[in-house]
């Protein structure tokens, strides 16, 4: 998951992992370790499996990449190591903002998370919104499994975050590779 420090990339990884664990799966979530500062590009990693996860290293060959900030598409190679036919979930207004090579080689899920977040949450904090997109495009955990972790993490604010997530889930456009023009 690619984001900028302060956007909640680490928190979202945590939430997905907790949801997977609640579903009885095994999961591992951690940030790219080290000190960070607000606004700087950051990464967080998630592994989900039905079996115990024993790899303890950064994810270098992801199946899925989530990009919380569209500006990162131009400065970070978000698809580094991404498997063939991998999925890229991007926060962007339009498919046209996604570089052509990404459009051509990977599955895409696109949502204008900034808009959804602003309208549902009242602030452009997109991490929970993007989780909706991720779940829609990949189904790694069930949407319902997210409510407990969100409630524990956000307390009173959980409802709005869940709403943003659900809206993104409904509105995310998933494009398979073959139909990318």
């Amino acid at each position: 998951m690619h984001g900028r420090g302060g956007q909640g990339a680490v928190t979202s990884a945590e939430l997905v992992a907790q949801a997977a664990i609640d579903e009885g799966k095994y999961a591992q979530a951690f940030p790219a370790f080290g000190p960070e500062r607000r606004g700087a590009p950051v990464q967080s990693f998630i592994r989900i499996s039905d079996k115990q996860i024993r790899i303890r290293a950064e994810v270098t060959e992801p199946d899925i990449v989530v990009v919380l900030d569209p500006g990162l598409l131009n400065i970070v190679k978000v698809t580094a190591g991404l498997k063939k036919n991998g999925l890229v979930v991007v926060n962007t207004k339009s498919l046209d903002n996604v570089p052509a090579d990404i459009r051509a080689n990977y599955r895409l899920a696109v949502i204008d998370a900034n808009l959804v977040a602003k309208e549902t949450l009242g602030a452009p904090i997109v991490n929970t919104t993007m989780l909706g997109a991720l779940l829609k495009a990949s189904g790694v955990v069930k949407l319902e499994s997210m409510s407990e972790p969100l409630k524990k993490r956000f307390g009173k604010l959980a409802e709005k975050n869940l709403a943003a997530m659900k809206r993104a889930f409904d509105e995310t456009q998933v494009k398979e590779m073959a139909t990318n023009a």
Binding site: E14, A17, Q18, A27, Q28, F33, I55, R56, A57, P149
Partner: protein, 391 residues
């Protein structure tokens, strides 16, 4: 009922310390241990844990405060990492010689310079001689289980020694993963109250921390040494009790798929889990190869190690710390020394890697094993192999 919880390992440590009903926490924050002490501070502030939290001004003070609280008979906990462990260095020797049952989790971190907040074992290797019981862990479950065991081991009247539980900084401390949490009642049943035999008490005054001229220093140190060695009996007994109460068993040397293995890889810490995936792959390819891990670092498990390498031809040791200018891999040098007098001992190849938080991937382990087996055949003019350096 055990609960399956998804939580950051550092926070889970805090939860275990809470269940252990600790009396005093004197700690100073340092990456990557911060989440442990922050969570504990929250628990104390919110009234969920009835303990005295002493926010000291340095790790030296933290350990010094722990000496005092433990001397008064309080169940004492602290945590540190890297430079913090070094800053309290002189006090560590005092804690063990004075026989205080302090429990400390160390989120292993590389030592400066250059400044690194990332994980390796150099901090742990620097405190080998401090007289503490030291246990290494590989995943979140092992961490929380051994934090509970640590209190019981430390406070046992046959032991009365401080215990360090080592966990990889960041690679374990900052990872969210599933763990089985015991019930608070189970933990309380497992941990009797701390009953230090000679605490500071105005009604029964004692003098602690005295001065020993040459005529008696050797005896004092030998008494300490005998006690540390003998503590292994209690450690094994506690792990046995733990297995009966909670269903998970811990051993001084853990083996993974070592049956009939001619080649063994030895690792410590969370790397071991990545290594296991490689062992699986190589075993599937028909290679007779296994993995052993040292869980009990001090007192050093001589018998269990010698037993584990019986009949093994090649032992590849991966150290996550570098003893500069010396034998290279500190763990490897101790292994070599432990096995030296065996009439049949494996060829030992020393690798040092994963320094300063550098990952070793499954592919990396495959390379290490292949190269290690090669070097066992050809020999090497180097004391050890450095893995992963860009030249």
């Amino acid at each position: 009922m055990t609960k399956r919880v998804g939580m950051e390992v550092s926070v889970a440590i805090g939860e275990m310390v809470k269940m252990a009903d600790v009396d005093v926490i004197a700690a100073y924050p340092i990456t990557p241990q911060t989440h442990i002490v922050e969570h504990l501070a929250e628990l104390v502030a919110d009234g969920e844990l009835d303990a005295e939290y002493i926010p000291v001004e340095s790790e030296h003070s933290a350990m010094s405060a722990c000496l005092g609280s433990s001397a008064a008979g309080a169940r004492t906990f602290t945590a540190t990492a890297g430079q913090g462990l070094e800053l309290m260095h002189e006090v560590l020797y005092v804690a063990s010689a004075m026989r205080f049952p302090i429990v400390m989790t160390v989120a292993n971190r590389a030592l400066s310079s250059p400044l690194s907040v990332w994980g390796d074992h150099s901090d742990a290797m620097a405190v080998r001689d401090t007289g503490w019981i030291q246990i290494f862990t590989e995943n979140g479950q092992e961490v929380i289980d051994n934090v509970i065991c640590a209190f019981r081991i430390a406070e046992d009247h046959n032991v009365l020694l401080p215990v360090m539980v080592h966990l990889d900084g960041f690679h374990l401390s900052h990872v969210i993963e599933p763990m089985l949490f015991p019930e608070e009642e189970q933990v309380k049943a497992f941990l009797p109250i701390n009953d230090y035999p000679l605490p500071l008490n105005p009604a029964k005054p004692v003098a602690m921390g005295d001065f020993a001229p040459p005529v008696i220093y050797t005896e004092a140190k030998w008494a300490q040494e005998e006690n540390l060695r003998k503590s292994k009996e209690t450690i094994l007994a506690v792990w046995d009790e733990f297995a009966k109460a909670f269903g998970r068993r811990y051993l001084p040397v853990e083996s993974y798929r070592t049956e009939g293995a001619k080649t063994l890889l030895l690792t410590m810490g969370s790397f071991s889990e990545t290594a296991m995936t490689v062992i699986d792959k190589l075993r599937d390819e028909g290679q007779k190869i296994g993995l052993i891990r040292l869980r009990l670092w001090r007192p050093f498990p001589f018998e269990e190690l010698r037993q584990a390498v019986k009949g093994v031809e090649t032992l590849i040791v991966l150290d996550r710390a570098l003893s500069t200018g010396g034998p290279g891999g500190p763990v490897c040098s101790e292994i070599r020394s432990a096995l030296y007098d065996m009439s049949f001992r494996p060829k030992i190849v020393s690798f040092v890697g994963g320094l300063g938080g550098r990952d070793i991937t499954a592919t990396g382990f495959e390379t290490i094993i292949k190269r290690g087996m090669e070097l066992a055949r050809t020999g090497s003019d180097k004391e050890f192999q450095i893995f992963g350096v860009r030249e």
